[in-house]
């Protein structure tokens, strides 16, 4: 890591560009929307039980007994 002694001869660092500020605000708003949607259990809710057929009329027994998901797919809790 280089030393960072402030040099009075150096010009001031440039400010943050407007496109970065606007993008950051939009990003924060989107993150807030996602958090609210997740917290309120909106469409495509995350978490245990989401794949157990609880969000529809079909029984979760579509998968036969003894069936195991392919490697890398943990079964829903």
């Amino acid at each position: 890591m280089a030393e960072s002694h402030p040099d009075p001869e150096l010009p001031a660092p440039p400010g943050t560009p407007r496109w970065v500020k606007v993008s950051a605000v939009i990003g924060l708003v989107l993150v807030a929307v996602v958090v609210v949607v997740l917290a309120t259990g909106g469409p495509g809710e995350h978490g245990p039980g989401r794949h157990s057929g609880g969000d529809d009329d079909s029984p979760p027994a579509g998968i036969p007994e003894g069936h195991e998901p392919p490697p890398g797919h943990a079964p829903p809790e």
Binding site: T16, P17, S23, G44, G53, I63, P69
Partner: protein, 177 residues
């Protein structure tokens, strides 16, 4: 660390190919998600969810990691750096977010594939999961379009770290690599 011209071109080619390939694969995945959700044909719905799992595991995930790795190597091996320009930093963050969300979605993709393989999906069956796949694919496509726009336009703006490095290079009279 600075890459030589030939290696730099190779890594750049690999990065462009993997990034654009990732975008195209997600577009195909989105088309399958739409077909799975809206088609009246049971074989089409079943085929869509089976194909989505294969596409995700054997095309999208490898391309995502290839894009991430070649992007990091490309930026660290050139004067662009990884933390010197806002557009590079933004592209890195978007790529990381897209990759993490993709990895979290693999469970849902695998579950829907298993269900489609072993039962006939009705219109309302597992609708939440199916809509989730559609929404995530659409969101992923938007994020990847944004990274492509950033890479093409390279909007100006140095970070404080980038500005400091630039001043150091000027003081020492070095030419950026």
């Amino acid at each position: 660390m600075t890459l030589g011209p030939r290696l730099r071109r190779f890594v750049l080619t690999a990065h462009v190919a993997s990034s654009v390939g990732w975008l195209g694969a997600v577009a195909a995945f989105l088309a399958l998600a739409i077909a799975g959700l809206s088609s009246d044909s049971a074989p089409t719905v079943r085929g869509a969810y089976l194909a989505m799992e294969v596409t995700a595991w054997f095309v999208i995930v490898p391309l995502a990691f290839a894009s991430l790795v070649t992007g990091v190597v490309q930026s660290l091996g050139t004067s662009w750096g990884l933390f010197r320009h806002y557009w590079v930093l933004a592209k890195l963050l978007l790529t990381l977010v897209a990759t993490v969300v993709l990895l979290f979605q693999l469970e849902n993709i695998g579950s829907m594939s298993d269900i489609a393989a072993n039962s006939a999906l009705t219109d309302s069956a597992h609708r939440g999961s199916r809509i989730s796949l559609l929404v995530h694919a659409g969101g992923g496509l938007v994020v990847l379009l944004m990274t492509t726009i950033l890479a093409v336009h390279k909007p100006p703006g140095l970070t404080r770290y980038g500005w400091r490095k630039q001043q150091e290079l000027r003081q020492t009279g070095e030419q950026p690599g």
